[in-house]
C-alpha cells in the first residue's frame, strides 16, 4: 500500500465521518434529549474515531463502529456522572420544557416524552433499530450484550411505547355514547 492509497483512505474516512455527524447527533439526542450533551457526545465520539481510525478494519462497517464509539461515550458519561448507579436501571425522565408544555398534543412531543420514559438500555436498542435501521446482531455488538437481550429490550420498549401512545389514543379511549333510554319503534 503506497502513500497515495493511505492518503486517499484517510481523506475518504474524514469525509464519511463528516457525513455521519448528523446521524450520530440524532442518535445521541434520542438517547439524552439534551442538545448540548448530544453535541458533546458526538464531538467526543468523532475525536475518538479520528484518533483510532486505524482500528476500523472493514470500512463498510464504519457506521456500526461509530455507533459503538458513541455508545461507549454515552456509557462513560454516565459513569462519570453517576458512578454508583447501574446504567441499565436508570430511567431518564424528560425534563419539562416550554416546547413540551406548549406542544403536549403534538405527536413529536408525545413520542419523545414516551421514549424519554424508557430505561436507557431499552431506549438505546429502540433508537438503534428504529432510527438507524440496524440489524439485531449489529445492535448487540454496539451495546455489547447478547442478541436475546436486544430482542427482549426492544420488545419491552415497544410495549411501553404502545401503552403510552396507542392505548391512550382518542380512537381507543373514546367509548361509544351511552343512551339513557331507547324507544322501540315498530
Amino acid at each position: 500500500m503506497n502513500l497515495l492509497t493511505l492518503f486517499c483512505r484517510s481523506r475518504e474516512f474524514r469525509e464519511r465521518l463528516g457525513v455521519s455527524r448528523e446521524r450520530l447527533y440524532r442518535l445521541a439526542y434520542a438517547w439524552s434529549h439534551d442538545p448540548h450533551l448530544s453535541d458533546d457526545l458526538v464531538q467526543e465520539a468523532m475525536a475518538k474515531a479520528l484518533k483510532n481510525a486505524g482500528q476500523l478494519r472493514n470500512p463498510k462497517a464504519m457506521n456500526t463502529w461509530l455507533f459503538s464509539i458513541l455508545a461507549n461515550c454515552w456509557r462513560d458519561h454516565f459513569r462519570r456522572a453517576r458512578p454508583t448507579v447501574n446504567v441499565d436501571d436508570i430511567v431518564y425522565c424528560h425534563e419539562d420544557t416550554p416546547e413540551r408544555e406548549h406542544g403536549q398534543h403534538e405527536i413529536v412531543t408525545r413520542v419523545r416524552a414516551a421514549v424519554g420514559q424508557l430505561p436507557l438500555a431499552q431506549r438505546q436498542v429502540l433508537t438503534l433499530v428504529d432510527l438507524e435501521g440496524l440489524s439485531y446482531i449489529e445492535v448487540a455488538e454496539i451495546v455489547d450484550c447478547p442478541i436475546g437481550t436486544v430482542m427482549s429490550r426492544l420488545s419491552r420498549a415497544r410495549r411501553a411505547l404502545k401503552q403510552h401512545l396507542l392505548d391512550l389514543g382518542p380512537a381507543e379511549s373514546a367509548s361509544p355514547p351511552k343512551l339513557k333510554s331507547v324507544r322501540l319503534v315498530r
Binding site: Y29, P35, D130, Y136, S152, S155, L166
Partner: protein, 257 residues
C-alpha cells in the same frame, strides 16, 4: 423461534413479532409468521401497531433541536435582501409622508403653481418635503422623468415651459432629473426633442437637465462608450434617487411625470 407469550395471539412471541416487523427473521421463520398472521386477525393488528410505533419514533427524531453553533448560519443573501427591503420601506415611508398634504397658508407655494402643474389625469405627482416654500424668494422645483415615451417627454417639456412662465427667472430654479427610459430625452442621437431641449437650456439659465449616472453607465456598457452622447450642457449627476432625496431634503418641490 421464541416461546409465545400469553398476551400474544397466534402462537407467536412478542420478540418474534418484533423481529418480523424489523425484517430480522430467516425466510422459514417469516413464512411461519405470515401463516399465523393469516390465521389470526389480532396478530395482524399487533404487527400493524409495531410498524406504526416505529414510524412514530422515526418521525419524532427527524428534526432534533440543535445548539446554536450547529444551526445553519443565515445566508448573506438574506441579509442583503433584508437591508434592501428596509431601504425600500424607508423610501416608501418618506415619499408617503411627503405626498401627504401639509397645512397650506398664504405664504406657501402650493395653490397656484403646483395646481396648474399637477394635472387631474394623474400624469403628474407633486411632492414636497422640508420647510414651506415662501411666496417670495427662489422656488426650487425638480421634475422627474423615467419614461422613454415621447408623449411623456413632451408633456414634461410643456410643464417646464409653463412653470418658467409662472415666475421670474430669478425666483425659480428647475431641474429635470431623468433616469431609465427618461434619459433618452437627453441623448443627442436618440432624443426626439433634442432641439427643444437645447432651446430651453439656452433660453432659461435657471433650468438644468440631469441624467442618472447609473443609467448612463448601463447604456455605455450595453451599447459601447462611444454610442452614448448626451446633449451638451447636460449634467450627469449622481444616481437619480440620490439627487431626488438630496433635493427633497433641501426643500425642493418634487414633481413626478
Amino acid at each position: 423461534m421464541k416461546q409465545p407469550d400469553d398476551d400474544i395471539p397466534g402462537g407467536v412471541s412478542e420478540e418474534t413479532l418484533n423481529a418480523f416487523v424489523d425484517d430480522q427473521l430467516s425466510a422459514g421463520e417469516r413464512g411461519d409468521v405470515f401463516e399465523a398472521i393469516n390465521r389470526n386477525r389480532r396478530l395482524t393488528e399487533r404487527a400493524c401497531e409495531l410498524t406504526h410505533l416505529r414510524g412514530m419514533v422515526q418521525l419524532a427524531y427527524r428534526d432534533c433541536p440543535k445548539p446554536k453553533h450547529l444551526q445553519p448560519a443565515p445566508r448573506h443573501g438574506n441579509l442583503l435582501k433584508g437591508v434592501a427591503a428596509a431601504a425600500l420601506l424607508a423610501l416608501g415611508a418618506l415619499l408617503g409622508w411627503v405626498v401627504h398634504p401639509g397645512p397650506g397658508g398664504p405664504g406657501v407655494l402650493n395653490e397656484t403653481a403646483l395646481a396648474s402643474i399637477a394635472r387631474h389625469d394623474g400624469s403628474f405627482l407633486v411632492s414636497r418635503v422640508g420647510a414651506p416654500v415662501p411666496a417670495h424668494g427662489v422656488r426650487h422645483v425638480l421634475l422627474h422623468l423615467t419614461s422613454s415615451n415621447p408623449q411623456q417627454m413632451e408633456l414634461a417639456l410643456n410643464r417646464v415651459q409653463e412653470l418658467m412662465g409662472l415666475f421670474p427667472r430669478d425666483q425659480l430654479q428647475v431641474e429635470v432629473v431623468t433616469n431609465a427610459g427618461g434619459v433618452n430625452l437627453l441623448r443627442a442621437n436618440v432624443s426626439p426633442y433634442k432641439a427643444r431641449v437645447e432651446e430651453l437650456m439656452r433660453k432659461y439659465p435657471n433650468l438644468t437637465f440631469l441624467a442618472c449616472s447609473n443609467t448612463v453607465a448601463n447604456l455605455k456598457r450595453e451599447l459601447g462608450p462611444g454610442r452614448v452622447d448626451l446633449i451638451p450642457n447636460t449634467r450627469v449627476g449622481p444616481t437619480a434617487i440620490h439627487e431626488i432625496i438630496t433635493r427633497l431634503q433641501e426643500g425642493w418641490i418634487y414633481i413626478k411625470v
